[in-house]
């Protein structure tokens, strides 16, 4: 299909869809008028029943915890897939030599950068941890905090250079973190079943409203997710970063990867 024909087809389909889109838009509840019964009910009952202030966390880690479990494993699948594809050719070996662009000067790292990273790194990690554990009271949670934690490991790279980073961060540990976090989250679902409750039923003491220790099981779940996300994203950085290295050996032939 020529590009022109393709755009024509797309435009035609768009035109055909226009009246339908208009009808749907007109039929929807007016913007901002009201919210659905489901959400309203959750806003009404969750603070009382789960002692949590953050409704979004209450939904993600309690009422609709299964969705988040699926989401966590979606992330795990994506990162595992990324690792499989990136390692497919070069294997797991690591190399010291970076790819150099001919003609571009190599500027040594300044002391200011090193110092700034050494100060900011631990602080960032601390902040990440804070975001992870305060899921039930503030707009935080395992996903957001986990990403911040992973950022802290990137600061090691920025401050210490690639070799230092690879020394500090081991791929096996990241796998263990990622898998362990996901496992912890799944066990938060399964363990209540041992006590005769439903999957992921919140059987821990619920704690005090507006306190760090509120929401019972949600805190543990967030720790699991935070750990998995931090491990997973660092793994992602690591594998993408390894792409900037010079290959030790030429590409392996295709069938070897199979």
């Amino acid at each position: 299909m020529t590009p022109r024909l393709r755009i024509g087809l797309l435009a035609l389909a768009g035109l055909a869809l226009l009246p339908g889109t208009a009808a749907v838009t007109a039929g929807l509840p007016a913007f901002g008028a009201t919210i659905a019964e489901y959400g309203a009910r959750i806003n009404a009952i969750a603070p009382g029943e789960r002692h949590v202030a953050n409704m979004v966390s209450a939904i993600n880690f309690d009422l609709r915890g299964l969705d988040t479990l699926g989401e966590e494993f979606m992330l795990l699948a994506a990162i595992t897939g990324t690792v499989v594809l990136l390692r497919g050719r070069r294997g797991e070996g690591i190399t010291e030599r970076a790819m150099r662009r001919p003609g571009r000067a190599v500027i040594p790292r300044s002391d200011a950068v090193v110092l700034a990273c050494r100060i900011a790194g631990p602080l960032t990690a601390l902040f990440g941890l804070y975001v992870v554990v305060h899921a039930t009271v503030t707009p935080g949670g395992g996903f957001q905090g986990g990403v911040i934690l992973a950022t802290a490991t990137l600061l090691i790279y920025l401050g210490e250079g690639y070799a230092g980073w690879r020394d500090a961060v081991r791929s096996h540990w990241l796998d263990a973190m990622e898998g362990g976090g996901a496992l912890l989250f799944t066990f938060c679902g399964l363990v209540p079943m041992l006590f005769g409750a439903a999957f992921m039923q919140n059987i821990l003491p619920l704690g005090t409203f507006r306190d760090l220790f509120s929401g019972g099981l949600m805190l543990v779940e967030n720790l699991g997710v935070g750990m998995a996300v931090a491990g997973g994203f660092t793994q992602l950085f690591l594998e993408f970063m390894e792409e900037t290295r010079e290959a030790d050996q030429p590409d392996e032939p295709g069938e070897e990867t199979a």
Binding site: T25, N43, T138
Partner: protein, 137 residues
């Protein structure tokens, strides 16, 4: 302007589709896919909005304060994770495509057809066997 968010969502999806259909660079294509996804963010958040509602976090406001729909916010959070996973995977595929063929142009990359050659069935009596179009690396 009670329909504006919905119209924006539809427009974003259309714009993203147009971008994907005409893309000549995989990274651009990944971005366009992100635009299509933004349409779902706008739609969901728009549907869950209520004038004057607070964020559904009852920390500084007592429970019972009118708030927006927390379900939609939770759905969008999941949607964002979906977006992150898709972007990561597509970028990896893009890196590998670039490594293999040196090109980032979607129009030159066709499965089963070698690179850049337009192949239609010619009814030719090609009996030379598999992969005559491309040599194995």
């Amino acid at each position: 302007m009670t329909v504006l968010p919905y119209a924006v969502a539809a427009w974003l999806f259309g714009a993203g589709l147009y971008g994907i259909a005409t893309s000549r660079n995989f990274i651009h294509l990944v971005g366009c896919l992100g635009i299509c996804q933004s349409a779902t963010y706008v739609l969901l958040l728009g549907l869950g909005y209520r004038w004057g509602g607070i964020a559904p976090i009852f920390y500084n406001h007592p429970p019972g304060t009118p708030a927006v729909d927390p379900v939609m916010q939770a759905l969008v959070l999941t949607d964002i994770v979906v977006g992150a996973t898709l972007t990561a995977l597509l970028l990896v595929l893009t890196i590998q495509v670039h490594k293999r063929g040196g090109s980032l142009d979607p129009e030159t990359l066709r499965p089963m057809r070698g690179t850049g050659t337009s192949v239609t069935a010619q009814g030719s009596q090609d009996r030379t066997g598999a992969g005559s179009e491309r040599s194995a690396s």
